[in-house]
Every structure is written in C-alpha cells, then in structure tokens.
C-alpha cells in the first residue's frame, strides 16, 4: 500500500460533506456533557437544548441544500451524496425534531432518565442519514445496525412497564433475525462479485457501483440473486412489509408513543430510502426477479394491513396496522420505479405527507395517553372534539390525510402514486390499492366517529358511563407545533406546489 494511495484516501475523506451528521453527533455528546456538569435543577433545559441543536442542524442542511459534494464518491466510495439524500436529511431532521417534541410531552410523566433519550434519538437520526448516503455495504450495515440497536433501546425505554419491555424484546429478536438474514445476503453478494481490479486498485462486491456493474453483466448469477433477495427481505422487515409485518402491531403498542412515532415515520422512511437506492442503483438488472417479488409483497402487505386494522380498537396498534398498509402503497411506488423514473419523487412526496399527518396524530395521542402508555383505545377519544376542539381538529386533519381524503395532503400523495402505478401499468396492484383505501376509510372513519359523533348524542341519551381519561393540556408551543402540522397538511393538499418544486422530480 503506497503513500500515494493513502494520500488519495485521506483526500477523499471529506468530513465537511458530513457536516450535519457530525454536528448532530457532537450535539448529542454535548447533551451528555451538560448532564454531567450542570446542576440537577437545570437538567430540565437539556431537552430544549436538544431541540434547538436539531433545528440548527436542519437550518444548515436547508441552507446548503445544493452542496458541492453531490454525486461524488467520498470516503473512498463509502459515501455518496445525492439529491435524494439531501431530501432524506431534511426529512429525518424534521422527524427527529418532532419526536423530541413528543418526548418533552411523554417523558416527564415517568421517573426515567431523560437526557439519554434525546441523545439516542439524535445519534440514530445521524446514523439514518449516513445509511441513506452509504454507497458501500460495510458502511450500510454499520449504519443500519446503529439505527437498529438505537431502536432496541428506545422501544424498551419505559422499562417500568412490562408491556414496553415485551415489545422491546420482540423487536430485538425479530430485528436481530432480519439483520442476520440481511448480513448473509450481503455476504453472498460480496462472494458472487469476488475481486475486481480497476486501475490497479482492488474493488469488491461491497461497493454499489461495482456490484451494479457485475449484475449488469451477470444478471442470472444465482448467488447474487439469492443475496439480493435476502437483502431486500431484511429491508422489508424495516418497512414492515409482508411477511415481516408481524412485529409491527405489538411493538407499536408497547413502545413509548414518541418512539412509536419515530418508528412509524423515520424508520419506515429510512427503509424506503434504502430500498429505492438499492432498487434503482444496485439491483436494477435483477428487475426480472425483483418486480414480481416486490409486487407480491406490496399486494399482500396492503391486504394484510387493512384487514387486520379493520377491527382494531387500540389506537397505537391501529396506527401500526394502517402503517403497514401505507408501506404497501409505497411499495407500489417502488415497483413502479423500475419503469417510471419519477416514481421516486412520488414515494418521497407520499412519505412527506405521511410524516406530517402521522406526527399530528401521534401528537394528539401523546397528549391523550395517561400513565399507561400502551393502553389507548378509541373509547378514550369520546368527547375529545367537544372538550378539546383544537386537539379534535388536529386529529381530524391528520387522520383524514392518512385516509387520503381531499383536500388534505395525503390525497395528493395517493394520487401521485396512482398515476405512477398507471404509467407503470400495474393494474392488479392498483385494484388492490383501491380496495385497501376503501377499507381504510372504514377504520379511519371509525376513529373520527368516536372523536366527534358519539359525543354529540341528543341530551336525552347523554348520561353515558364513558370513562374520563387524563388529557394533558397542550402548552402554547405544543399547540403551535400541532397547528403547524395540521396547517401544512391542509395547505399541501390544496397547493402542493412548494414541496413538488423542492423535491428533485
């Protein structure tokens, strides 16, 4: 290994390109330091420091949206920034900001350490950003495992609650299983490619470009196909696609509400970002195998998610099960991206609308949970609209957007996905998706119904024994954030221009 080579490697280590991730990690470390040096009574400021720090990082990313490193291989090919990666950065930061906000609502109810929560959320977010940027399977796996292990801790964070720990253990076992499967797939891909020498430098099947090149010339290499399928299976676990959806309802129910939101939004988006990268940049030559597999997955996911959600009364499980069906719709977009290039934009647009709507709903849920975070059913929502019109309104907007009702953003997301699916001529999948949307109207409507309609019984039949549940009254900041989410959902549905210009269609 010559000095020249080392020099070139050192030069490609452009740490500035990873500024946001590094800032986030340093801020996370700073929180720990603050916990040590600050007196105990000042610890309550730490969450706000975390939120401000994340907002600063978000601002940095937005200001440097068109960075000079776009499309270049950095860190010796480990990292490659792409326009989608930039979108993902913003997405993950917005999401983690909102999760931290939810944390400030939920964590004070417990007697648990708090700073660690924000620390882990920030590290996991940075790891997700690296995951989306990674261009090399070693980087990919390390980032993915950082995210996964972070989630093991976060899911079981409320360790006073046996149900939370049970959810944590379930997530742990199934997550580790999926990681092992994915690892084996990566190994097979590495083995299939073997050794490639270019310009005197050795390359391996870990590198995405090399792998893509290899697959283009050997699209029927059995080892590679098996590896690709195993890797896609591992990602399917993260997004909760069939048949890896079994963990979702239990884990969503058991996890603390902010973590459920984090899982539902960031983890799922990371899964889709990775899947899109893999499908569009690495496994493209394997379309003959992957398209049928992914189509079947999408169909089964939509059907399973919606059918299971129909009779669900626990709202966190409902969010999980309906989230499965959303993953199914998104998978249609992924399948379509083989033939229609702008499908990637449609998927991201959908994810953005999903972020806004889900976070609004989880925000309301966070205010409604009592001491037991895992037990929240539709019955708790009775009288909500009457007693707390604001929370009721936010809930209606969020749930309506998830159901895809115009003029809310979710409708535009679904519309774009349907157009994409039509252009890709995926008619059977479209039919299933339509059926799924109709089913989803049933349970989403049930939610709205319990929040709005039951409460307004005529006075004669009023005395119902509906138990009253503790509702945390939103602070002004909380109201502002939830109101902004609802407003953004509404505006994006009526005038989707800004986001559609911003996404690199």
């Amino acid at each position: 290994m010559t000095t020249d080579y080392l020099k070139s490697v050192a030069e490609s280590n452009q740490w500035w390109a990873l500024g946001p991730e590094i800032m986030l990690a340093c801020a996370a470390l700073g929180l720990l330091v603050m916990e040590i040096i600050l007196p105990k009574k000042d610890h309550r400021f730490i969450p706000f420091v975390a939120i401000v720090a994340q907002a600063m990082v978000l601002l940095t990313v937005i200001l440097n949206f068109q960075t000079i490193w776009l499309g270049e291989n950095l860190f010796g090919g480990l990292i490659k920034l792409s326009p989608w990666g930039q979108v993902a950065r913003v997405f993950f930061l917005v999401s983690s900001l909102l999760v931290s906000f939810l944390g400030t609502i939920c964590l004070p109810r417990t007697k648990l350490p708090r700073v660690e929560f924000y620390h882990i959320v920030m590290v996991v977010t940075a790891a997700m950003m690296l995951l989306v940027h990674s261009n090399h399977f070693v980087m990919f796996f390390v980032a993915l495992e950082t995210v996964t292990i972070g989630f093991y801790i976060l899911v079981s964070y409320f360790r006073d609650n046996a149900l939370t720990l049970e959810a944590g253990l379930k997530y742990l076992v199934l997550g580790a299983l999926s990681s092992a499967i994915m690892l084996f797939g990566i190994v097979l891909l590495y083995g299939a490619v073997g050794k490639v020498s270019l310009n005197g430098i050795t390359h391996t099947g870990f590198e995405f470009e090399v792998l893509h090149d290899f697959l283009r010339h050997h699209p029927d290499n059995f080892l590679a196909i098996a590896g690709a399928l195993l890797v896609v299976g591992g990602v399917a676990f993260k997004i909760g696609a069939f048949p890896f959806q079994i963990w979702i309802p239990d884990v969503y129910q058991g996890a603390p509400t902010p973590v459920t939101a984090f899982l539902a939004v960031s983890s799922k988006a990371a899964g889709f970002a990775v899947l899109l990268t893999l499908v569009n940049q690495v496994f493209t030559p394997l379309a003959g195998v992957l398209v049928p597999v992914l189509s079947l997955l999408a169909a089964a996911t939509i059907i399973m998610g919606n059918l299971a959600a129909l009779t669900q009364r626990n709202t966190k499980r409902l969010m999980g099960l309906s989230g499965i069906s959303h993953a199914g719709y998104l998978l249609i977009g992924v399948v379509a991206s083989f033939t229609v290039p702008w499908a990637t934009s449609a998927v991201w647009f959908y994810l953005c609308t999903y972020l806004l709507a889900s976070m609004a709903v989880f925000g309301v849920m966070a205010y409604l949970t009592g001491p037991d975070d895992t037990d929240q059913t539709l019955d708790h929502y009775e009288h909500l609209a009457k007693q707390h019109p604001f929370l009721g309104g936010v809930l209606a907007v969020g749930v309506g957007s998830l159901a895809g009702i115009p003029p809310l953003a979710g409708f535009m997301g679904k519309l774009l996905l349907f157009i994409v699916a039509f252009q890709a001529e995926l008619y059977p999948l479209l039919a299933i998706a339509i059926g799924g949307v109709v089913l989803s109207i049933y349970y989403y409507f049930g939610w709205i119904k319990s929040a709005y309609f039951e409460a307004w019984r005529p006075a004669a039949t009023a005395p119902t024994a509906a138990p009253q549940f503790a509702i945390t009254i939103p602070s002004l900041g909380g109201k502002l954030i939830l109101g902004l989410l609802a407003l953004a959902t509404l505006l994006l549905g009526c005038y989707p221009g800004p986001l559609s210009h911003w996404l690199p269609f």
């Binding site: 009702i405 519309l415 157009i419 039509f422 252009q423 339509i434 949307v437 049933y442 409507f445 559609s500």
Partner: protein, 512 residues
C-alpha cells in the same frame, strides 16, 4: 369583458369557501348567520348573471375561462374554470338549490348552527366548483370537497341510524369516487395529453381515440365509479339510508346537486372521450337502469311507509331515467338527461325540504300516521302537491320535458325498455299521489291528533316559504320555457353523438 366574467365565476366559488373559513375563524353567531346568507345569495346572483350573458350560439365551447397555477403544472394540473352549454345549467342548479338550502338552514335553528352553516358553505363551494371545473382533476377534487361535509352532517345532525348511515355512505361513495378517479387517471395516462385539462384531452383524443379495449375498461371504471355515486342499481343501497338520516339541507344539496356529479361526468367526460367504450356498455347500462332502478326500485318505493325513505328511493328510481337516457347514446336522449338532471335536482330538493317541514308539524315520518294536514297548512300542501307533480313528470313542470326527450330517444333504442320506463311513470304517480293523499287528506291517527292538539301546526313561515317558492318558480319557469337552457345544452352535446341521431329533433319542444 370576458375576463370580468371569469373573475365573477371565481368569485362565485370562492365566496362560500371564504365565508366558511371566516366562520371557522370564530365569527360570532349573529354575524355568522348574516355572512352565510350573503355567501349563499352572491353565487346565485352571479350564476344568474353569467347565464344571462351566456352567448346564444356559444354552447359548444367553454366561456369565462380562467387558469390558475397549482404548482402541479408538470402533471398538467391547473385550476381551470369555465362553463360550457352543459356545465351552465348545472352551475345554475347548484347555485339555486344552494340558495334554497342555505336560506332554509338559516332559519332551521339547528343545534351548533355555526358548524352546520360552515359545512353547508363548504359543500356549496365544492358544488359550484365541480360544475365550473374544466380540469378533471379539480372536477374530482371539488366533488370530494363537497362530499366530506355530507358525511359529517349525516354523522352529527342525522336522524335515526345516523352512525350506520354515515358509515355506509362514506364507504360506498368513497369507493365509487376512487373507482372514477382511477378512470380519470387512466384517461390522463393513456391519452398522452400530459394534462388533466378537458379541452386538451378532447383535442388529443380527437385525432385518434384510445384503443377500443382500453376504452371499454376505462368506461367500465367510470360507469361503475360514477354509477355508485348516482345510485345505479345494485350499488344504490347507501342512498335511501343516507337520505333517510341526513339533515334536510344536506339532503337537499346532496340529492339535488351533488348526486348529479356522476351523470355530469359521464356526459361531459366519458361520452365524448370514450365513444367506443360507451357503445360496448350501452346495453348493460340500459338493462341495469331499466330493470333495476326503474322497475325494482319502483316497486320497493311503493312498499315504503316512511316519507323520507320513500323520497330517497324515488330519487334512486328517477336516476334510472337518466341512465336510460345516457345509454341511448343519442343527442336527444343525452340532452334530455341534462334537462332532467336540473329538473330533478330542483324537485327533489323541494320535496326533501317539505318533508322536513311536514315532520316539524307531525313529528313523524310514518305515512300511516299522518293525515288531514291540508286544512291546517294549505300553503305547505300546495307546495308539496306541486313538487310531487313535478317529480312524477306532469306537463308544466321541467321534469316533463326531460322525461319526454328521454322517452323519444329510448323509443329508437329499444321499445321494450320504453314500455318499462312508462310503467315506471305510472308507479311513481301511484306512490307520489298516495303519499300526498296520506299526508294531507284523510284522518290522522289518534296519536297524531293528540300531538297536533297540543302543538297546532302552523303553515309555512317565510323561512320555509321563500326557499320553496324559489325552487317551485324555477321548476315552473323551466316547464314553460325549457329553451332557456336546452339551446345551450344542444350546442354542447358531444359531436360524436350528434351523428348517431343525425337529423333528429332537438330537445327544444314546441313553444308553449
């Protein structure tokens, strides 16, 4: 001048929506009621003015066009508004029924009146938008905007079974809307026009239409999607239930106007863009509508004992005539459908409103209990009788011309179905007149006598009389002077259809 009219058109749609926003912003109730009243009147005035200014020979093209960017220009989605000869009558209908329903709601004294008015205003804005949209994406968008308040209103202010009714309506109508949305997307993708603009779609498909198989499938999607929304048998079951439970103003707007969305879509979009598809489905549609909607539902209507249920079923039945008219695929039939849509919208809104007025006085919808109301409330009785006669299709009312044109077209298409349709008129005459007899004449039940003794029924007050008179006047005016609308309708009918019935009489009947 034209740009001024285009702005007026925008203003007509925006007024109710903005008013709804202002009321949502926390306007005190006193002002909210006044604002709502203004917001219902303004579109009606604008609609009348636009109709008056509509060029005599210009029905074939769109007028008052305006275009607004939505940020989705790259998908060919822009907010493009305008009216042609078919859209104009329905726009007028929406404005008129909206005015009547709004005025009725102002005086209805409903609980949570502000929310009620707000939802009604959103509905009104959506309805006006539906018929003024040239862009088929916004055509759909406005429909949903008007549809959502319906569910909420049924869910909150509904009568018996409101939860079940709201749920069933939501699922059926959303499923229908999604199917038709798929059809619209299919047209967009397959036409290659890269635009949702109906004018551009027509231009793109004028040279070379879609392949016949594609047309067949897309027309099928639109037919059953729109069909569900218009209560095509056997997808109609939401309608009687929903109308039975809906509060009066919502039922007026939905049954009177919103339901016409599906028929309007078939006539304005499906027939001109997918002529071959229409050919393949014509007979199936005619049979479903003729046997199902007219005969089966006709007999079911005969068996109804509940006034509101009966009205709901009769509205389903009358939609059968509209479908029959469409399935003829002739200019005269389609023109008749447009006229009947307007006429039926007016008459069914009138009847739903008066049914609620009857309920206020008798506290029941049960036909068997009622009786003798004619002496106590003569104006109500007169209006109800007039509405029933219009609904049956007697001459002097607008419905007559629509049904007549449809029958003429149907005769050429299938004499057998014409016989069925005429039998349907007899059926509707039986149940209509029987209901009038039960409510207003003959002795009431003992229970009702007690109720009326305690609360002597008053005749229609101005809050009810004014909307009723508006609707009745429109029905009569169109009954005596159908040319007011039929000329522009004729000009706008799809070119392809004119050739089917080349040389046939126009819809305009002889001068009265």
């Amino acid at each position: 001048m034209n740009s001024l009219h285009a702005q007026l058109l925008q203003l007509a749609i925006a007024t109710p929506l903005v008013a709804a926003l202002i009321i949502a912003g926390g306007l005190p109730k006193r002002f909210a009621v006044k604002l709502a009243g203004v917001a219902f009147v303004v579109p009606a005035l604008i609609a009348a003015w636009l109709w008056q200014q509509f060029p005599a020979e210009g029905g074939a093209t769109y007028h008052y066009l305006s275009n607004m960017d939505t940020g989705l220009g790259r998908f060919g989605i822009t907010l493009k508004l305008g009216l042609n000869g078919i859209a104009l009558p329905l726009f007028l209908l929406a404005a008129t029924v909206g005015l009547a329903a709004g005025l009725y709601a102002l005086r209805s004294g409903a609980e949570r009146l502000k929310l009620y008015l707000m939802l009604l205003l959103i509905m009104q804005g959506g309805l006006l938008g539906v018929f003024a949209s040239v862009d088929i994406f916004f055509f759909y968008f406005f429909h949903e905007l008007a549809l959502i308040p319906t569910f909420i209103m049924v869910g909150i202010w509904g009568g018996r079974d409101r939860n079940y009714a709201a749920m069933k309506m939501t699922i059926y109508l959303t499923a229908g809307a999604l199917l038709s949305l798929l059809g619209l997307i299919a047209i967009y993708v397959k036409s290659g026009a890269q635009s949702f603009d109906l004018i551009e779609l027509k231009a793109a498909l004028a040279h070379q239409g879609l392949a016949p198989t594609a047309q067949k499938y897309i027309f099928g999607l639109l037919l059953f999607g729109f069909g569900t929304l218009v209560s095509l048998w056997p997808l109609h079951t939401w309608a009687p239930l929903g109308y039975g439970a809906a509060p009066s103003s919502a039922a007026m707007l939905h049954a009177g106007v919103l339901k016409k969305f599906g028929l309007y879509g078939l006539i304005q979009i499906a027939l001109p863009l997918l002529p071959a598809g229409a050919q393949t489905w014509a007979w199936q549609l005619a049979l479903l509508a003729g046997i199902g909607n007219v005969l089966v539902i006709g007999f079911i209507t005969l068996a109804q004992r509940d006034l509101k249920q009966m009205l709901g079923y009769s509205s389903v039945m009358h939609m059968g005539y509209c479908f029959l008219g469409i399935s003829c695929l002739s200019a005269i039939g389609t023109g008749g459908v447009v006229l009947l849509m307007v006429a039926h919208g007016l008459s069914v809104a009138l009847l739903f409103m008066l049914a609620t007025s009857v309920h206020h006085r008798t506290h029941t919808f049960d036909l068997a209990e009622m009786g003798g109301l004619a002496q106590k409330t003569p104006v109500l009785a007169a209006c109800f009788v007039a509405g029933t006669m219009a609904s049956i299709g007697l001459p002097a009312f607008a419905n007559f011309w629509g049904e007549l044109a449809i029958f003429v077209a149907l005769w050429k298409f299938s004499p057998g179905l014409t016989a069925v349709a005429v039998a349907g008129v007899v059926i509707s005459a039986i149940y209509g007149l029987r209901a009038v007899a039960r409510i207003f004449f003959g002795p009431p039940s003992e229970h009702l006598q007690q109720v009326m003794a305690q609360h002597p029924p008053a005749d229609l007050g101005w809050g009810e009389r004014l909307p009723a008179l508006i609707l009745l006047a429109a029905l009569l005016w169109l009954g005596f002077y159908p040319q007011a609308l039929s000329r522009s309708i004729d000009q706008a009918l799809p070119v392809g259809l004119a050739s089917v019935s080349a040389g046939s009489v126009t819809v305009s009947p002889v001068q009265p």
